[in-house]
């Protein structure tokens, strides 16, 4: 296929957390709010006058300082962020919205707070740590709303004079939904037998929406959507198997590239920093506060294994099954960043349950934060793709024999 016109542009934006667009938005007077987890409602950090940035640490190498502060058994994502923060790379942020959802992220935020990672000119800087409930009933929604009001909206209002009214939230949701529509439409092309967009390209575009001020990339995203609509895929499908990637956060498009280099096509992304959840429109009605609805939506749409009430566990398996069906995936790759406790368990259980109860073939792997050119991982994925091909051949043979 012909390269997407803006692919290089978006790839370049992912090279640094404080990229050109972030600097531009700040120069125009907007405030930058870092966050790390879906549980912190992104849309509330995109109120008029501020913008959200899901924190990454691209090209991470040494994490020695962070390893001293957090020990070497902590999640590499959390350590990489702390390392970046200690190096001064997040000094441009005006605030960080953390969550007390997993131990590593929580401690990462606490270390950042104690070690004062904010810029010298950021006297109104705040770090908050949301107490996120473990389920999604109305008591949980109420509790979560209190947390969000006190720990996100109040400092935004008090420290920076941000308008946190119902109208402002509705406006932010509308802009958020616009981005979601574009990304969803782009993602839907992957349902086609021969999609005009690769998993890697889609991940780069999705990732850009998490890590840049949305209003500054919307135009180019729309143009990219138009381009994909009329893009002609290669006449013969090039991939050997269609896979769905499920698991903990992937903010390194290199991982998707590595998977696709083995001959797979990543047709659906059910991981943190991916499009499910995160790039679905937030439905709002006029009968209830927008804030309450946003909080409820957030709790009910999370796919984090932290929520382990039976109906939430079931919801996660069903979601993977639905995505596999809708996107005609031949198998699912369950991945986790090493030392992620939640996904360690989820991965082990899914590795047992999905093939047996849902008939979905699963590869279960753990991986470092920055994959690079991991030969070990590549070999495992190659073997999985081969196994999917063999299964398909055997199935076809079986059908012919019948």
């Amino acid at each position: 296929m012909k390269d997407l016109k803006y692919l290089k542009y978006f790839e370049d934006l992912l090279e640094d957390t404080g990229n050109d667009l972030v600097r531009k938005a700040e120069a125009e007077g907007d405030i930058a709010l870092g966050y790390t987890c879906f549980h912190a409602p992104e849309v509330l950090m995109d109120l008029p006058g501020c913008f959200s940035l899901r924190l990454r640490a691209p090209h991470t190498n040494s994490m020695e300082m962070a390893t001293y502060y957090m020990a070497n058994n902590s999640c590499e994502y959390a350590r990489a962020l702390l390392e970046r923060a200690l190096e001064g790379n997040f000094a441009f942020l005006h605030g960080i919205v953390g969550v007390d959802v997993c131990e590593a992220n929580n401690r990462c935020m606490e270390n950042m707070g104690i070690l004062k990672i904010q810029g010298a000119d950021k006297e109104k800087f705040f770090i908050s740590n949301l107490d996120v409930p473990y389920s999604d009933d109305e008591d949980c929604v109420e509790h979560f709303e209190e947390q969000v009001s006190r720990k996100i909206l109040k400092p935004l209002r008090d420290n920076y004079g941000i308008d946190t009214s119902d109208a402002a939230i509705r406006r932010a949701v509308a802009e958020h939904n616009e981005i979601c529509r574009v990304i969803s439409e782009l993602g839907d092309f992957r349902k086609l037998l021969n999609p005009p967009i690769t998993g890697y390209e889609f991940h780069v575009l999705t990732l850009a929406t998490y890590t840049c001020p949305k209003c500054l990339i919307l135009k180019k995203l729309r143009e990219t959507l138009e381009e994909v609509r009329s893009r002609r895929p290669d006449p013969n499908k090039k991939y050997r198997a269609r896979v769905l990637v499920v698991g903990s956060e992937i903010d390194d498009p290199g991982l998707i590239k590595l998977i696709e280099d083995t001959g797979a096509l990543v047709v659906a992304d059910r991981f943190c920093f991916g499009s499910v959840p995160g790039r679905q429109e937030i439905p709002l009605n006029d009968d209830e506060d927008a804030l309450t609805q946003v909080c409820r939506y957030n709790l009910q749409s999370t796919q984090c294994p932290r929520q382990c009430a039976a109906h939430r566990v079931q919801n996660r398996y069903d979601t993977v099954e639905r995505l596999a069906r809708e996107y005609s995936a031949d198998g699912a790759i369950y991945e986790q960043i090493k030392f992620c406790t939640y996904w360690s368990y989820e991965r082990a259980m899914a590795g047992y349950i999905m093939p047996r109860e849902y008939g979905i073939h699963v590869l279960s792997v753990d991986r470092p934060y920055i994959v690079g050119q991991s030969g070990q991982l590549r070999t495992r994925i190659q073997a999985f793709i081969e196994s999917l091909e063999i299964k398909k051949i055997n199935e076809e043979k079986g059908e012919r024999a019948q």
Binding site: E103, P133, D139, R306, V313, T341, Y342
Partner: protein, 522 residues
């Protein structure tokens, strides 16, 4: 003095690399040896009296459940914690540990009485099960204070928690089972072992419904997901206290969550919450907490009395295992508190038993080496005057005011074992340590470095920085909670030895305890 420099004989000679049991019984003088032997007989006598009538089930249990076998070595657990002790220390330890084992034996009996696997087709067992609520190990059963007509059994405590403290080798099989199932080996082995027991179907079927929780850490949260599948067909409720427990704003949610748990038990078991029973049991809880505080107060002085595991493990079990609902434990608390005051008065008057070094223990301990602090005392004269694990919820439950009592009960859950420090932000773990160092007048902290714990590990550098600035010795002792293959008892001792030799330039009180092999020991 347990080491004789003339003969070179010390306590290390009791251990044998090729045997599980201690090589000899210790001679502590006629009076103390007789006392020790009498307590040993008392424990086995009690076990025989309680479990003897269920000999067929016990025999079946030994064959059916791998975790049941370690209970036979319960007396060795007492031996491990009393080695080198005499006089009042010996008596404190015996009484404290006996109360723990007393409760465990009764719970084992209850399992034998009602387990479906051991009593197939038994109508009596079925009726007992219909009246029993099952709990997860990390979910305190305190809520049962308001359900006096119901029985409850902490199925994971009896299958995992207690056996792991009785026999260091008891969890390995289950850890291997869950890792074979696909769980990453880098997660905490505690919930992993609980999951391993489920994977090999080794839980006793003893109740009608199951109450679990999100406590105290990420691993425990995930263990719930696996247990929910394992216990298919059994109704399950997950208590989910808030994380940021220091914030007053989260308490309303905590109470609502607890009320839901109460409603769940009412609905499942067909009984109503009984406030009268609750008030009575809350009063008992308060008395136990008072005894605990009294022990703390005495241990803050120059003459600490009930120390090490005798202090911590008993409180831990009293709260987590027995939910402060065991009258025998309260009786023991009163007896030991009385003895302790007497012992303190004696030491104060005579200026005896002043520790050479004082320390507190912080972070999650190794289940497989509960007597580590005793060893540190015997080998180096470092006396553990308190332990983070004992510093769980100790504030009283308000008696008579229903709403306030539920808030207090919710607080008990929020501040249960480990969680009181590992949740709610760094202030509860990091800052609290320095407060406790001041309160107990210590400048040494045995810092358990649980190699799979991301929670405490996440503050590693800040602990180091702060300790250095305060002149406090943090002695990091690595371990892997339930799996001595990762870090053995010997390696734990070695880490401590190195600090004492290299930093303190200290000589051991008993050189035979410096290095010995006990990988096989219970």
């Amino acid at each position: 003095m347990t080491y004789d420099p003339k003969t070179g004989k010390g306590l290390g000679r009791f251990y044998d690399a090729d045997h599980r049991a201690l090589k000899y019984r210790e001679w502590r003088g006629a009076k103390d040896t007789f006392y020790d032997y009498a307590r040993w007989m008392k424990l086995y006598g009690f076990m025989a009296a309680e479990l003897g009538p269920y000999a067929p089930q016990m025999a079946r249990a030994m064959l059916r459940y791998r975790w049941m076998v370690p209970y036979l070595t319960a007396a060795n657990m007492m031996d491990r914690h009393t080695i080198g002790q005499s006089g009042k220390d010996l008596r404190y330890s015996h009484k404290q540990f006996y109360s723990v084992l007393h409760h465990s034996v009764i719970k084992v009996k209850e399992i034998l009485q009602r387990d479906e696997n051991l009593n197939p087709g038994s109508e009596r067992a079925r009726k007992l099960r219909e009246n029993t609520v099952m709990f997860d190990e990390m979910t305190p059963s305190l809520i049962m204070m308001g359900f006096p007509t119901l029985d409850w059994i902490d199925i994971a405590m009896m299958a995992v928690g207690m056996p792991s403290e009785v026999d260091q080798n008891s969890c390995m099989y289950y850890i291997d089972a869950i890792e074979h199932f696909g769980l990453a080996p880098d997660v905490c082995p505690e919930p992993a072992t609980e999951c391993g027991v489920a994977v090999v179907d080794d839980y006793a079927k003893v109740g009608k419904c199951y109450v679990t929780s999100s406590m105290p850490c990420d691993g425990a949260v995930q263990q719930t997901a696996l247990m929910s599948r394992y216990l298919k067909g059994v109704s399950i409720f997950q208590i989910t206290p808030p994380q940021r427990i220091n914030e007053p704003q989260v308490q309303e949610y905590a109470v609502k969550n607890l009320k839901k748990a109460i409603r769940f038990i009412e609905d499942e078991m067909g009984v109503k919450w009984d406030w009268d029973a609750f008030w009575k049991n809350a009063a008992m809880y308060n008395q136990m907490a008072e005894c605990m505080i009294e022990k703390w107060d005495v241990n803050s002085t120059d003459y600490p009395q009930v120390c090490g595991a005798a202090l911590a493990l008993q409180r831990e079990f009293e709260f987590m295992g027995a939910a402060c609902l065991d009258e025998y434990m309260l009786k023991t608390d009163r007896e030991v508190t009385k003895m302790m005051h007497k012992g303190y008065e004696y030491d104060l008057a005579h200026g005896t038993n002043k520790p050479k070094y004082r320390c507190i223990v912080w972070a999650c301990p190794a289940h497989y080496y509960t007597n580590f602090a005793n060893w540190a005392d015997l080998c180096w004269g470092v006396k553990c005057v308190n332990d983070m694990e004992a510093m769980l919820s100790y504030l009283p439950i308000t008696v008579g005011d229903q709403e306030q009592a539920l808030r207090d009960l919710a607080r008990c859950y929020e501040r249960m074992m480990m969680r009181s420090h590992t949740n709610g932000g760094y202030v509860n773990l990091l800052d609290e340590l320095w407060k406790m160092c001041d309160r107990f007048n210590v400048n040494i902290v045995i810092m358990y470095d649980h190699v799979s714990c991301r929670n405490v590990g996440g503050l590693h550098g800040l602990f180091e920085d702060e300790a250095r600035s305060r002149g406090i010795h943090l002695i990091w002792v690595p371990h892997d909670v339930m799996d001595p293959r990762t870090v053995s008892r010997r390696e734990m001792r070695d880490a401590f030895n190195k600090y004492m030799v290299n930093v303190f330039r200290e000589e051991p009180l008993d050189p035979t305890l410096l290095d010995y092999e006990d990988a096989l020991a219970w």
